[in-house]
Symmetry: C2
Subunit: 406 residues, 2 copies
Amino acid sequence: MSDLHLLSPKGFVASGIYAGIKTRQTPDIGLLICRAATAATAAAAFTTNKVFAAPVKIGRKHIASGKLRGVVVNSGNANACTGKQGEKDALRMCDLAANVARCKPTEILPSSTGIIGHLLPMQKIERGIAEAGLYLGDSAEHAHLFGDAIMTTDTRRKTAATTFTIGKQTVTLAGVCKGAGMIGPRMATAAPHATLLAYLTTDALITAPVLKKLMQQATDESFNSVTIDDHTSTNDTAVLLASGVSGAKIAGAKAIASFAAAMKNVCQFLAYQIAADGEGATKVVTITVRQAKTTKHAQAMARAIANSPLVKCAMNGNDPNWGRIVSAAGLAGVPFDPDKATLTLQGTVVFKNGQPLPFDAVAVSDSLKAPEVKVDLTCRLGKSDATVWTCDLSKDYVTINADYHT
Amino acid sequence: MSDLHLLSPKGFVASGIYAGIKTRQTPDIGLLICRAATAATAAAAFTTNKVFAAPVKIGRKHIASGKLRGVVVNSGNANACTGKQGEKDALRMCDLAANVARCKPTEILPSSTGIIGHLLPMQKIERGIAEAGLYLGDSAEHAHLFGDAIMTTDTRRKTAATTFTIGKQTVTLAGVCKGAGMIGPRMATAAPHATLLAYLTTDALITAPVLKKLMQQATDESFNSVTIDDHTSTNDTAVLLASGVSGAKIAGAKAIASFAAAMKNVCQFLAYQIAADGEGATKVVTITVRQAKTTKHAQAMARAIANSPLVKCAMNGNDPNWGRIVSAAGLAGVPFDPDKATLTLQGTVVFKNGQPLPFDAVAVSDSLKAPEVKVDLTCRLGKSDATVWTCDLSKDYVTINADYHT
């Protein structure tokens, strides 16, 4: 995937510039615009938090047509809990981006991420969007600057891309996302969790209803399966723009399956990178619950394990304290029988059929000193599996979040 | 309340001795026995975790009769995830305590707290219970030693007691509890969450059905409303023994109301002490959600706020980052409308009707440097209120839980 980037799919340009919204002098306003003859087919998933930011409110309206010309985003300020003025400001961002893209404001999806409860600095936003319009391009550098413009406490850019073929035509699908804290997404295409922002591009030709369905499915299997702090944000947004420029039509079961698989790969790799860059994280913890009665049950148990501060601290300390894991599965409020369950930590079975198994605590602890720890819980109650990605809880997490002042 | 203790209600003796189960040389086996002519009327609430410890399984059976002669407890080992041998060991604890109390083993409720997944050191338990039997008494010192015997990562004993009158008779109600981590209780008298252990005594005369109902009510308003890490334990148990020795009969609406009020006071004060002694805690955070549609909604929002690591870290850093609080209420999955809501931090209104209010950030931050922080969210959707107690999230929390090794 290494040479591909957000602008590899044909028909897109982007930019990222510093407008002085963030304290750190890195890009904080980004534009992503479809330059195809017609607007892009688009689908988006938004936070399901009852407290949703002004750009989410506007974005929901603008996505309803299934068509978008572009996306405008700022970091450093979430434009959330900002009342009527916040809505006006989000609409104004669309106006300004529409000027650049030469389209209707309703064809622009706005996003914001940063501190909650502060009005946007509109002078900086106005100047910034105009400036971003001057630097649009389709190079890797342009993709990277857009990627930087969406970051807040992220320590690195998160990107993924893939290509596949439909008949004889090559389709490219790419994405970029941000998120390190306030990450416990539960996004829905119908209605809309962390601030997770994800932007996906493809040059495939696809209809809006199909894309919407695939968007929810891919979001559930990826972004909605990553949790840093389980704090569903006011601003979470994932959006995909399909330019159609490749001419490859996503219609028929086989093509749809290929597209869905590509989306799943790209979105899961992006989600994994969010877990890896979680605030203060030293490792990714991949929790797979197998053979639950239903997928929802498997997800609930995996999420309960991932969200336990006790489990996360044990991971930080490389402590094979598996009782915390089994008990977290038991508190999820779904069917679970420890007498039928097996728990494996980095390949070592530590608990089986309600009983502790003897294991070499030093060796297992050593095996936890890894960039990724795999926790596998088999329930033997059914046939449904689920995976959730999280990270450990470190002292640095507390430093970052006790000192990130309003 | 200061002179009263667990053994102030007439009819009880207790002891606490060190049997070598805990590393720290403080008492780790406790006995509490009713010495009245007949066994005590009793009610208990247990964890609702699907993974429940052997003593919880046995305790549920033994409480079914509504009668208990006593309680035996050890700290340092939870006897959870220990299979059939764990059940045998919990039953053996009852046998040994029954020998001391001269009653049937089914009249004893066993409890354990500590590490999960290790068999109890039965030689130490056997010797320890016999020794505890030799040191029974009803002095404040005896109550304190029992209180020490139930502690794990607690830094201090938690006690509460009150007296009230029924007609001309004085009733005493007292309690002791433990819990600092794995605290997210959801206990139920019918079925049963952290390890929270609470033991209550009274010399009132009350029937088992009335006591059971009052027990659930008091538990919901107190222990089930405290959360440190929202990790419902395998061992949570709250039990009340009523000796009847005062002769004061709890029958009729007025007496029941008096008894319920006393229970609520004692249990809430115990729960508050658990929040204050949360692992690594520097302060209590009291979250009250007002005017929600239903009590369940108010509880869900208060709990979502209390469980957000972002909110807890902000409290640790004295940061009036109220956006984290409002957004946590929004993610609880219950009706909430920020446009109708008011948020008050230590008496300062910071958010009202969907809009941020200007406030002196330095002054509000200073007001957060207090042993108790009050967060008040008014929803204006109904008439139901709920309060949840929690603590801040500090670096010490991570140290305690990353290094508490198996």
